[in-house]
Amino acid sequence: MIEINDIYKTFGENEVLKGITAKFKPGKNNLIIGGSGSGKTTLLKCIVGLHEPTKGQVFFDGENFTDMGFEQRVPIRTQIGMLFQNSALFDSMTVEENIMFPLNLFTTKTKEEKLERANFCLERVNLAGKNKLFPSELSGGMKKRVGIARAISMQPKYLFVDEPNSGLDPKTSILIDELINELTEEYQITTVIVTHDMNSVMGIGDHIIFLHEGKKWWEGSNHEIAHTDNKELNDFVFASKFMRAAKAKL
């Protein structure tokens, strides 16, 4: 279980997060949504320790992650997989080497076992046989899938995903969402996804947190989101004519 307690984050004079408290549901897709500049990515980076919160704590299974030093964080970090907005694959390594990288550093598996795991992860994201390609030879959707394969290579307990649909066509976006959803259910991973894609929200949003002006404005599921009377959330979710028409039919 991931819990965040009263998280504040300030950059200079700019207070981006203003006291966010939430619990993320284990084994479910937890979505953080909100408009541009609402603090979604900053919150995600505070949770995984890429930013240190100005105030507040992050707990992983009751352990205070915020107060831990680098060495103490390593056992928790090896249970974390993350897919970055631009995939963040290591340019100098092949697809296979990217996936095997955490295995090389943190496991005592033999080379054959690591290769077997890399092949399994690639098959799982429908990229079998692409082992020897470099990131520069992959399309945007393929990079995301390799990013997912690398994120799950260590069989993580927590999966963090930053804007999985950015730069992808709608069909590929849905495929990536479905893949994340399948992995979450299959391995009972606690997944935290930052997105502003409404297909993702309606498709895989088991638990949704809506941020507005750096605060938690609303919390619920994708079934509840259509019936909320929260004005800011409605303005965000039903911004397009298509979504308003879809809501009218409900």
Binding site: K45, R73, R77, M82, F84, N86, A88, L89, L105
Partner: protein
């Protein structure tokens, strides 16, 4: 300035933390050694031969007095090459070739979130990215300087053969006459320090890059400029202490 110096020292401390897995770091050190050493061998060879040749011709030109033996040109060319041209000029060239590559490589990794990806995995990113480059710098730059000294003196010999300002035999006599081993020790100390300066300053500039492609370029430029200034400053300090 003190803030930057503090950040630089802290980054160096993080860089030499105990590695997660020695074998992975060792492979990285080998890769960096090949990139720095073998990759720079061509340019270092070319500039060393030309500088050695030009230096010898200029020294011969200045030694016009019949009272000064012509072989002295070989001695002066040797000491100048060992003490100054090979360590300093080679390091300034390496700051441009290797330093800019280090700063832009690490800077690109920063702006494309690859360093964040390392940190999320629990990898000590400064250790994994910077320490192999520093180790490669302090081991490969002295080797390149030794190659440069040899080729520089060889370049002087070629100049003697081509121009005839000093006969090759006089040049060889001069090169062998009054050789002091201290000059080579000074050159190697300089090379080790310069190798450290190039790798660490450029890595620091790259590691704290913020923004995008423009800022990566700026980091590379800053890395090269600061490295060159520090190389010349360290050159003065080492020379005044050791000679």
């Amino acid at each position: 300035m003190f803030h930057s110096l503090g950040k630089y020292i802290l980054l160096l401390r993080l860089s030499f933390r105990r590695p997660e897995k020695f074998s992975v770091y060792w492979a990285e050190v080998m890769r960096e050694m090949v990139s720095t050493g073998i990759g720079s061998l061509g340019i270092i060879s070319i500039i060393s031969v030309f500088i050695g040749a030009a230096t010898t011709i200029q020294i011969a030109f200045q030694l016009s007095s019949p009272l000064v033996p012509r072989s002295i040109a070989g001695s002066i060319a040797r000491d100048t090459t060992i003490l100054e041209f090979s360590p300093t000029i080679s390091s300034l060239v390496l700051a441009g070739r290797v330093g800019s590559s280090i700063a832009s490589q690490i800077g690109t990794m920063r702006v494309t979130e690859q360093i964040d990806a390392l940190e999320i995995m629990g990898v000590n990113a400064p250790g994994y990215l910077i320490s192999p480059k520093i180790i490669a710098g302090v081991t490969m730059v002295p080797l390149l300087v030794i190659v440069s000294i040899t080729l520089g003196i060889g370049g002087g010999y070629l100049a003697c053969m081509v121009t005839g300002d000093v006969t090759p035999s006089d040049y060889i006599v001069g090169v062998l006459d009054g050789f002091n081993g201290l000059t080579v020790r000074v050159a190697l100390v300089k090379a080790i320090v310069f190798g450290f300066i190039i790798a660490s300053i450029c890595a620091y500039q790259g590691f704290y890059t913020k923004g995008g492609a423009l800022e990566v370029g700026q980091s590379a430029t800053k890395g090269v400029v600061y490295s060159c200034v520090m190389i010349l400053f360290a050159d003065l300090v080492i020379t005044s202490i050791m000679l």
